[in-house]
């Protein structure tokens, strides 16, 4: 049982790293959102592995909450992205400097 848990957490950490690297390395807002999604997949794997050892119902309840929040974050993020594209003509984060003091 411990081996299965450790394997899940190992791959969850790997997924989290891939998403974090994507968010840090990319200047494209859309790609950063994809990185955020990959990070959330890693978190989800870690949650379900923990839940399988302790309380699967609680883990499912938390995962359902997480998925709902994820959708709202992605929808709001994409809306802001389209808005930024229409305002600045690009999705490059370095161009988002209109509020610079």
């Amino acid at each position: 049982m411990n081996g299965s848990f450790a394997t899940a957490w190992y791959f969850a950490a790997l997924l989290f790293f891939i998403g974090l690297y994507c968010m840090a390395a990319s200047r494209n807002l859309l790609r950063q959102l994809i990185g955020l999604e990959v990070m959330s997949k890693g978190t989800l794997l870690a949650l379900i592995a923990s839940g399988a050892m302790s309380n699967l119902s609680l883990a499912q309840a938390v995962i359902i909450t997480m998925i709902v929040i994820e959708v709202v974050v992605v929808a709001a993020g994409l809306t802001l992205l389209v808005k930024a594209y229409r305002t600045n003509g690009g999705v490059d984060v370095w161009k988002l400097s209109s509020l610079k003091g």
Partner: protein, 163 residues
């Protein structure tokens, strides 16, 4: 011999790498959907069907549709904004370093974490858990959904006012 669940983990990781590294955004969105499908299969394998169905319908369905519609709105952007691809080509190397480092250093830590995971073991059904113990979570979900609708509404309303 590689087991079914480990094969799924590998497939999810490879799909995530493809989503991050692909040059075309449409391919990235579809790879992300494949990652979600892999995660949903892992959830089914963990005997968590409700979470798996949510993951499959919402993450692999709705979020992919949102991404693809956003990509179609930004289609003209791609020729004008070419990113430095070197960082993304280096990602498998960095991922391999993290994988080897995690195998050597992280494994005992993950095994120690299993003791903490056993801490809150109590058997309850999902319905009673969600409606009795985690009622605040449901309220939070409603608040988050309202906030999301408000953000989308306010952004598009601001555009109309700007015209």
């Amino acid at each position: 011999m590689i087991e079914y669940r480990e094969f799924l983990y590998l497939a999810v990781t490879l799909c995530a790498l493809a989503a991050v590294m692909s040059r075309n955004m449409l391919t990235a969105a579809i790879s992300l959907a494949a990652t979600s499908i892999g995660v949903a299969l892992v959830l089914f394998d963990f005997r968590a069907p409700w979470a798996a169905v949510f993951e499959l319908s919402v993450c692999a369905g709705l979020i992919t549709v949102l991404f693809i519609s956003a990509v179609s709105l930004l289609r003209k952007e791609e020729p004008f904004f070419a990113e430095d691809r070197t960082r993304f080509r280096l990602l498998p190397v960095f991922a391999l370093i993290v994988a080897i480092g995690g195998w050597i250093a992280g494994w005992p830590f993950f095994e120690a974490l299993a003791d903490y995971a056993r801490f809150g073991a109590r058997g309850q059904s999902l319905g009673s858990m969600l409606w009795e113990s985690r009622r605040m979570d449901l309220l939070g979900q409603i608040a988050m959904l309202a906030a999301g609708v408000l953000v989308i509404n306010s952004v598009f309303a601001a555009k109309k006012a700007g015209k």
